[in-house]
Amino acid sequence: MIRFGWLLAELAALVAVLFAASLLIGPAGLPAGESLRALIAGDGGVMTLVMREIRLPRAILAVLVGGSLGLAGAAMQGYLRNPLAEPGLLGVSGSAALGAVLAIQTGLSAAFVLALPVAALVGAGLAAVLLLALAGSRGGSLTLILAGIAISALAGALTSLVLNLSPNPFAASDIMFWMMGSLADRSFLHVWLCLPFVLAGAALLMPLSRGLDALTLGEDAAESLGISLVRLRLRLVAGVALLVGATTAVTGAVGFVGLVVPHILRRAVGAMPGRLLPASALGGAAMVLAADIAVRLILPDRDLKLGVLTAIVGAPLFLHLVFRTRREGA
């Protein structure tokens, strides 16, 4: 118990350090002391504008997005009792992407700033409703996976269709870039748009820890321990949909975070799925903050996309885990 408390404290400290680093690193090359002073005191000058309107929302969004993906991934893996589960499995992120793509294609996103994220939220919401109708109150975890795969396949196909028929090459390239996922050029509007959904999603998922722990013994045994699996599944689907839908809407698709972070932290929490929820949320926030800093440092003038970097870093990490699992299995 004490060790678990320490782990959370360490992860929180890591997030705090990376958050500060994210505020201090950027193309404007501002000196650290002055920029912090400009952030807090606020002199109305350019520096305050950069700090308050560009870097602060970007860092906050990194925490929200990473925390959401980490938490949603840990909850999905715990519920499905499968270390390969990830938040995208439910098809909510794919549907959010479809909404965003339609907004770009129709030119709506150029008409006003929030059109794109709002369209993505609508897409995510529709997917969640469809998912709950298909697999909400009845059927086991397998029904949920099948419904999720069906929805995400359909959303993927429709996204391809839009790209396929797009008469406008600029819109098509906009769509491609958006889908890579990025935190660049986001404002507090984006923060306020996704914050309520993220808080609601976290509030739904965090109390599931005992139920997810009990599921370690299988669905039958968990139910005999007084866990209502129907309620657990409803909360899980709603919570993951809120988190993933809202964060995909403001950043695009950021892959591998929800898959890799719970994996890395599992051993540190003694493999208990309930404890993995808060640990993975903090770990996800740290990973996205770090990746977003790296994006700015590696190719400062080329707009390297966040989702591309997390995939490039995440895939080898995952391979490393494969080798470790193989060693332990032998």
Binding site: L217, G218, S224, L225, G226
Partner: protein, 252 residues
């Protein structure tokens, strides 16, 4: 004290009933062996009793709200599932889930007692998923014991155990009975069932066909009829002894 009452319990899978009109009551201090050939409906009867399967008729346990039921009865499913590489101690502690939020000293005491009872002290900090199948079975039974309920329902708890641990496990049930705990176990080993159960319930094709003292239930006629076997049986000073001998017909 009656811990469980079934009245005319019927379970359907599709149109055909897998359990039909089962009535039964179990009191504290009993070790009730549920016997019958494969597909007789033993698991379905137990799961419906617990409210895990839709059913007609009445089960006193299924009527309880989930939390209250979890404090009344512990369930050990046949599938020995351990999804994550947690320690044996943590896994057993999951038995305390129905007993409120924070684990206190009373919980620790019950967990220790369950570990001692299943002779798992040496395994306490081992990773549960790295243990052998038989060891995992004992850990999962200890988890059910840690639930601290007056009734325990276990689906084939001794399948796959070595002879010493089969006997030790049956003795655990007998020991629980002296403390007033009731146990319902499905079991295929008729010899151990006859020896350790205070009462046997025989099922065949979804129906309860006999209910009573072991050798009164396992008569030569019923053994031939239900199981298609002959057996050597005797009431010895050491208790009832039953040894299955030959097939009386081809198994169906």
């Amino acid at each position: 004290m009656t811990l469980l009452t079934l009245e005319d319990l019927t379970v359907r899978r599709g149109p055909c009933p897998v359990v039909e009109g089962a009535s039964l009551s179990v009191a504290g201090g009993e070790v009730v062996g549920l016997v019958g050939p494969n597909g007789a409906g033993k698991t379905s009867l137990m799961r419906a009793t617990l409210g895990l399967l839709p059913h007609d008729g009445r089960s006193s346990l299924a009527e309880l709200p989930p939390r209250a039921r979890a404090r009344q009865v512990a369930w050990l499913p046949q599938a020995r599932e351990i999804a994550w590489p947690v320690t044996v101690e943590r896994l057993i502690a999951l038995g305390r889930v129905p007993h409120g939020r924070r684990a206190g000293p009373a919980d620790a005491q019950i967990i220790d007692a369950a570990i001692a009872r299943m002779d798992l002290d040496a395994y306490r900090y081992r990773t549960a998923t790295h243990l052998s199948g038989g060891e995992q079975a004992r850990v999962l039974l200890a988890r059910a014991l840690a639930q601290g309920t007056p009734l325990l329902i276990a689906d084939e708890p001794i399948a796959g155990l070595d002879p010493a641990h089969q006997i030790a496990t049956m003795e655990v049930f007998a020991g629980l009975a002296t403390e007033g705990v009731g146990t319902v176990v499905s079991i295929h080993d008729l010899g151990l069932a006859a020896r350790f159960c205070t009462r046997l319930v025989l099922m065949d094709r979804g129906r309860i066909v006999a209910d009573g003292r072991p050798l009164e239930v396992l008569t030569p006629e019923r053994l031939a009829d239900v199981f298609g076997i002959t057996a050597w049986a005797a009431d010895t000073p050491e208790g009832p002894v039953l040894q299955p001998m030959t097939l009386s017909r081809r198994p169906r």
